[in-house]
Amino acid sequence: MSDGFKVLYYVNQFFGQIGGEDKAGMKPEFHSEKIGPALGFEQLLKGEGKVVGTIICGDNYFNENKEESLDYILNLVKNEAPDIFVAGPAFNAGRYGVACAEISRAVAEELNIPVVTGMYIENPGLDTCKQVAYVVSTSDNAGGMRKALPAMVNITYKLGKGMEIGSPEEEGYIARGMRKTIIVEKRGSLRAVEMLIKRLKGEEFETEMPMPVFNVVQPASAIKDLSKATIALCTSGGIVPAGNPDRIQSASAQKWGKYDVSKRDALNAPDFYTTHGGYDPVYANEIPDRVAPLDILKELQKEGYIGKVHEFFYTTTGTGTSVSNAVKFGTEIGKELKEAGVDGVILTST
């Protein structure tokens, strides 16, 4: 190969040197030259590969016109047919991170092109793409560019050359959540005895099967005056409108739904039923309010015991839903509730 492998680069308006916040509304554009980090990136590739172009898109434009932007960008990528797609690094920038993440996921999943990006560990975009892209762990601001780029280049180089990518620790990317089966030097029993001795000595040891961590949150302060409060009803019991319009899965839910219940007095059958696969649905289908008691809440509203029931009811299914999805749902629903000025939430689970 004369020019080595082909890399296509994605940056936002700022790193694309178009401008700051005032240019965040710009539509995606393709430039055949190397712009911003793409320039340094190609230099670091040392002739083994080349950056064939840079896609620039405004952060606001992307986030407000996701589908359109994704379509446009995917088409560009398809035409350029790079060997590897690189986005960012986005550091801790929220909108930029989400853009990098969504694009990375789409390119990896729909076009089957390997993707390399970079983010700070707390970037909200991370969970969207870390399973399908190599996300280099960066600092929380652009000051970390000099450290991030070489790591991204190194992974890109290995992908381009068809070399094996090492462990997250070796290569500096954020673990994708893949349990890779490998053969190691020490047999299992020896590792167990070494782990035991470390544990007995009070030294640091590393388990080979980390359990999911359930950290705690401080209880939020109580509602001062219930009679003025807006209460939202949520359930993981899978109560959905007849026909399940959003096709909430019966198990291992990938999404949640919200439905306007401002004009209803109850979640009565047959307008509502449960799609949850984790329990005998007979009782819930008879009276869906047995799972999500909208009727009682509305009564309490009429009696003036509470101010108001929030106009939207939120629902998903709890069974088999992965921890990361549950976190995602909670974050998304919580954000909406906060913005809507909800004062308290009742979540029912089956």
Binding site: R179, V184, R187, V323
Partner: protein, 428 residues
């Protein structure tokens, strides 16, 4: 209790007219061995073969693997309580044909798997690609019930190991290993400052094809039993387990239990290794509660500071492993668990179920669903049709060039939960 294991290094194996070891070459008298095994009139037919490391040979379906040995002094030769009269195991001197193994082959039920590839990709995943294997393929007479069938094959393997082991009787071993430990009180006085450690070894004990025997006693019927660390190393425990190829404990792995050996190596140095609790894995929840309570009691009674817990199997034993872990940790006893995991074929599936906050120190023997591609063999020992079973329930597993895709699940000893092999999983 003092046990000397005299290792006679085996560097090659062949069939011949006598059973002997000369210059590290093990010769097995095939005719006499067959005659010996056929003393059991439930056996219709015996096929003997050999498979050496590097041969393009596949053995399938493997029932058990056994190390050929002979008792020189102390106890009884063979497997006391099974192929010999009851006697104390773990004392005296035992000679081992180190590097040789008896591999029993034969269908008891149609869905048995258990593959050993002696070469290439498959060889990496099983420790028994490294041994000089004498395969014993047993056909039983017609009309025999499954229990008797399993028993016949199990006994034939043990008796074959005993027969071959005789070759080591008058040979001077290349190496003698000594395993010696006094009473718990003596050892504790000797090492007052070392932490006291027990090993809790869980065994599948759930019925036909899912059994383990200690001194010939079906362990489904026992309360957890305390064994001196030497006993299992000296033929006290045998396998009657024909499923769970990847994570079952073959008789060979009982005889050479790596967890016992690695704990022993630290005895008097970093730890005071007090012995093994043999924990039955019941299929009933009451049994699981009883066995875990009793294990906790033994751990407390003996004043252990820590316990290594190993599992056998996948599915219901996972619950039992965590129950034992929780109960011990609650008593302030530190645990290290050895298990395997199922992260799906691509490793992306998270093992969600069966987690416990107490399980902070866990060794993983690897992903049972990890896919390996096994090229076609020049020769198949056993039942070539069983290869289709390997791919059972999974379409497209037989590739055009004749190679076969299967999960580690089907490979003998690949994801050992006593830590016998070198496979693990890392987060990538």
């Amino acid at each position: 209790m003092k046990l000397e294991i005299g290792r006679i290094y085996i560097k090659d194996i062949q069939l011949g007219n006598e059973t002997s070891v000369k210059n590290g070459v093990l010769t097995v008298d095939k005719t006499s061995l067959i005659a010996k095994l056929k003393e059991d009139d439930r056996i219709k037919d015996v096929k003997i073969d050999i498979a050496k490391p590097g041969d393009k040979v596949r053995i399938i379906p493997v029932k058990d693997v056994i190390e050929p040995r002979v008792k020189i002094s102390g106890g009884n030769n063979g497997f006391p309580g099974v192929t010999a009269k009851p006697a104390q195991c773990g004392e005296g001197r035992t000679h081992v044909l180190y590097g040789a193994a008896i591999v029993t082959v034969g269908d008891i039920v149609g869905f048995q798997e258990g593959v050993i590839d002696m070469w290439g990709e498959g060889a990496k995943w099983t420790p028994f690609s490294q041994t000089y294997n004498l395969t014993v393929d047993i056909n039983v007479v017609d009309g025999i019930d499954p229990h008797t069938h399993e028993e016949t094959v199990r006994l034939a393997g043990l008796r074959a190991a005993e027969f071959v082991g005789q070759a080591g009787k008058d040979i001077t071993p290349d190496e003698v290993l000594t395993y010696e430990m006094g009473s718990i009180f003596e050892e504790s006085n000797k090492y007052p400052n070392l932490p006291k450690v027990l090993y809790a070894e869980m065994m599948i004990t759930q019925g036909l094809l899912h059994d383990t025997y200690i001194y010939g006693v079906n362990a489904q019927t026992i309360l957890p039993a305390l064994l001196h660390a030497n006993e299992e190393l000296d033929n006290a425990v045998i396998s009657g387990n024909c499923v769970a190829a990847c994570d079952k404990i073959t008789t060979y792995q009982h005889q050479n239990n790596s967890t016992i050996l690695d704990l022993y190596a630290q005895h008097g140095k970093e730890i005071n290794f007090m012995g093994c609790i043999m924990v039955p894995e019941h299929t009933t929840l009451a049994g699981k509660m009883r066995a875990s309570d009793y294990t906790r009691k033994l751990v407390k009674m003996l004043g252990a500071d820590a316990v290594v817990v190993s599992e056998e199997g996948y599915g219901n034993p996972d619950s039992a492993l965590l129950i034992i872990c929780k109960k011990c940790e609650k008593e302030g006893v530190k645990t290290v668990l050895i298990t395997d995991e199922c992260a799906g074929r691509d490793g992306m599936s998270q093992p969600l179920a069966d987690t416990a906050a107490e399980a902070v120190a866990v060794v993983s023997g690897g992903n049972v669903s990890h896919v390996v591609t096994l090229p076609p063999a020049d020769k198949v020992i056993g039942n070539a049709e069983a290869i289709a079973v390997l791919a059972g329930g999974w379409e497209g597993a037989l590739l055009e060039d004749g190679s076969l895709q299967c999960e580690l699940n089907a490979v003998i000893g690949s994801t050992s939960e006593i830590g016998y092999h070198n496979v693990t999983c890392r987060l990538y």
